[in-house]
């Protein structure tokens, strides 16, 4: 088995005059939750559709489980598109059976998995109801069950949490983490950064059809916040900015974020700071994903106003 279940290699896609995806490359490591992030219209959905072989790229290559998308591969992927829908007049159970059947899941297996999930999501009373008698949130749940009914190796989820209540969001998060624990891979697209921040191991940031940032989220955070410390101080605030090697000090929620000049030794700084005041808490500062995102967008020369 390949270490990168999904590889995207210099892929472009043009719709008429609109360049939806421009020379995009990334690799999704196995056993990770990979976040495909970016504002609306950045090219996330088009990229996902190309991975699913729903639309073909104009140039470049996409490999799924080591090969261009094949029939057998298709059955190993669970796909939840952004534009979701169900046959309105079908009964919930029949609908799930049908979606399992087109993934070539035999009825017995389908019955067991569907049963388990109907219980977990408390959908059992709705089993024989027609889809259009269900609330939107319940339809979402049905859709999620349909996505995982064939126990896929790869999950591709486009805005999976939109429209779900906190309880079911938690339920699905739990499933996703368990899914990853089993060595499986999730590609997860969203424009809600807080969700990505909590779940993703790896991210790829798209804006205006281009990749502007990619990598392991922890590493990205570390490098982004290199030389930044978070300090809490008892008593009145001293003038930390006067210390040598300090670039800036910003008060944040009753604490301070101290940005050091490169080459400044942290122990050195700490020693000098202790002479000035009583430090009650001290840590490397963990930047918010949003901060990284905005910085990356700025670096790419795209004004945030334009893309949001």
């Amino acid at each position: 088995m390949t270490d990168y279940p999904i590889e995207i290699d210099r892929v472009s896609k043009v719709f008429g005059k609109f360049r939806a995806v421009d020379d995009l490359s990334f690799q999704v490591p196995r056993g990770t939750i990979f976040g495909l992030l970016g504002p609306n219209g950045a090219g996330k959905t088009t990229t996902i559709r190309m991975v699913m072989n729903i639309t073909a790229p104009d140039s470049g290559e996409i490999r799924v489980l080591g090969t261009p998308m094949q029939r057998a591969t298709q059955n190993r992927i669970g796909y939840l598109p952004e534009e979701r829908g169900l046959y309105r007049k079908m009964k919930v159970l029949d609908h799930l059976y049908f979606l399992a059947a087109i993934k070539e899941v035999d009825r017995e297996t389908a019955r067991n998995r569907i049963g388990e999930w109907l219980d977990r999501m408390e959908l059992r009373p709705w089993l024989h109801k027609k889809v259009d008698e269900l609330s939107k949130g319940m339809q979402q749940k049905v859709q999620f069950i349909a996505t995982i009914v064939h126990d896929p190796d790869i999950l591709i989820l486009d805005e999976v949490f939109s429209g779900l209540d906190p309880i079911n969001t938690a339920l699905i998060k739990e499933y996703l983490l368990d899914f990853r624990k089993r060595g499986k891979t999730i590609v997860f697209s969203t424009h809600v950064l807080e969700q990505a921040e909590k779940l993703c191991d790896e991210i790829c940031l798209l804006a205006r059809s281009k990749k502007i940032l990619e990598g392991n989220l922890k590493e990205l955070k570390r490098s982004h916040a290199a030389g930044q410390l978070r300090m809490s101080i008892a008593g009145s605030a001293p003038d930390l900015a006067t210390l040598a090697g300090v670039r800036s000090v910003t008060p944040v929620n009753g604490a301070f974020v101290v940005s050091l000049e490169s080459g400044t030794d942290r122990r050195d700084f700490l020693r000098r700071a202790l002479e000035l005041c009583e430090i009650t808490a001290f840590s490397d500062r963990e930047p918010e994903l949003e901060e990284i995102y905005l910085a990356a967008v700025q670096n790419a020369g795209i004004e945030t106003r334009q893309i949001e």
């Binding site: 719709f15 008429g16 559709r49 104009d58 298709q74 598109p81 829908g85 169900l86 046959y87």
Partner: protein, 457 residues
């Protein structure tokens, strides 16, 4: 092609449709409507009897009395009718003669003196005022030319007019015979007409054709005709519904567009066949003859259907349905609403209707030029070739050529529809233009040197 997946789609389309109330209501109501229609026709025909007050302007001065006698004789049971037609009359004739007897003619002699135009004007007013139903002018000059004029507000009662015409002819015949000094009895002999009875000769033998075979062929013809419409339209609706629901993207992640399309067409076609099967079972087993029997004279009109008719029916139904369903698929795929697709739905509609436009010509001469041409043209072949095979023996090569052309067209259209479908089902928003659709058909995914890609909305 993964047939397991196709089958899953077929199953869904079939089961979901069979389960709807609409299917069963349609299946059960249509035969009833059909029977009701026959019943109404019979009832209307009977109602067509009743009193007819007709004024006779007898300018010959001596024809009125014999005409009145003759018309009474004609409408009295066990009179001429039975003598003229000694062979047992079949159902159609019996019902026709029955209702003819239902007409009670009231002839009134009107003065023929004075200006004819004045007389006619008076009578016209009476007709308009519904005092009389009609008036007839027996004029020597016109009679010499073989004409009698009949004036009425309704001039489409062919059966009644026919009866009057027959009576007048009879009277004139007697007059001529009397004028030559021949015995009047001879008139009855002379009135006897031969009756050309058709016997249909087939490879299996000879059977008397009482018109039931043709009725059956036409019933099947119109059945097929309406199914092409109904189920073709259902295919169109189904495609648009999937787009509208946005379910299509989920399905396309598991099933190829071609598989989805085929599954849909097969599934809906099976629904049509099921409907036929239900009707066939109902018709052969239970109620139909009984119900029809309630309409007395209708019972023998239920045709006995030969096996070959059913064989050809199924063959041409499948080919034709598949062809039209492909066209409807191609039409539906680019659009998001029924309304948008509607204007293009005219195309298959005109194709289907053109078969109905030519069928009388085919009926008239099943081996004539028109019949041959339209039974070979793929768009009319399913209906017209089917009709021809049920009317008269068709040369084997014509059937083969017809089916070959039909099959080739169907495959080509299915391919074409598949190409449009593949791209169209994921296109939302703006209505695509024809040049865009042409690009979809030519579009080859995955080739680096492809022309410009399809336009998204």
């Amino acid at each position: 092609m993964n047939w397991k997946k196709v089958l899953a789609v077929v199953r869904r389309e079939y089961v979901e449709r069979i389960r709807t109330k609409a299917f069963w209501i349609g299946t059960l109501i249509i035969p009833f409507l059909f029977i009701a229609l026959i019943g109404i026709q019979i009832a209307v025909a009977r109602k067509a009897g009743g009193e007819r007050r007709v004024a006779v302007v007898d300018r010959t001065g001596h024809l009125f009395a014999p005409l009145q006698a003759e018309i009474t004789r004609l409408t009295t049971p066990s009179a001429t009718e039975e003598r003229i037609r000694p062979a047992e009359p079949d159902e159609v004739e019996r019902s026709a003669s029955e209702y003819r007897r239902n007409i009670r003619w009231q002839l009134e002699n009107r003065p023929a003196s004075g200006d004819l135009e004045n007389v006619k004007e008076e009578l016209r007013k009476e007709v308009v005022a519904k005092k009389i139903h009609a008036y007839v002018v027996l004029d020597p000059a016109l009679l010499a030319k073989g004409r009698v004029e009949y004036y009425s507000t309704t001039v489409s009662e062919f059966s009644a007019m026919n009866q009057l015409e027959r009576a007048i002819n009879q009277v004139l015949l007697r007059e001529k015979i009397a004028a030559r000094g021949l015995p009047v009895d001879i008139a009855n002999d002379l009135e006897k007409r031969i009756d050309l009875r058709p016997f249909k000769v087939t490879a299996q033998g000879t059977a008397e054709e009482k018109g039931a075979g043709i009725v059956a062929a036409l019933v099947f013809f119109f059945l097929m005709y309406s199914t092409f419409f109904m189920y073709g339209y259902q295919v169109m609706r189904g495609v648009i519904e999937e787009k509208n629901n946005r379910i299509v993207e989920v399905i396309i992640a598991s099933v190829r567009p071609t598989e989805l399309m085929l599954g849909k067409i097969f599934g809906i076609g099976l629904v049509g066949l099921t409907q036929y099967l239900v009707w066939a079972l109902v018709a052969t087993n239970l109620s139909l003859p009984a119900i029809a029997g309630a309409f007395a004279s209708g019972s023998d009109m239920i045709p006995k259907v030969p096996a070959s008719l059913i064989g050809y029916f199924i063959l041409f139904f499948i080919c034709g349905y598949f062809m039209y369903a492909s066209i409807y698929t191609a039409i539906a795929a680019p659009f998001n609403t029924d309304q948008e697709a509607q204007q293009f739905a005219m195309i298959p509609m005109v194709m289907i209707i053109s078969s109905v436009a030519v069928y009388p010509a085919v009926l008239n001469n099943p081996s004539g030029g028109i019949a041959v041409v339209f039974s070979l043209l793929p768009f009319t072949a399913p209906l017209i070739m089917f009709l021809r095979t049920s009317l008269s023996p068709v040369p084997g090569w014509q059937i083969l050529v017809s089916i070959a052309l039909l099959a080739a067209t169907t495959v080509a259209l299915a391919w074409f529809a598949g190409r449009i479908y593949r791209i169209g089902i994921l296109m939302y928003g703006k209505k695509p233009t024809i040049p865009e659709i042409v690009r979809w058909v030519r579009y080859k995914p995955g080739k680096v040197s492809q022309p410009s890609a399809p336009t998204a909305a």
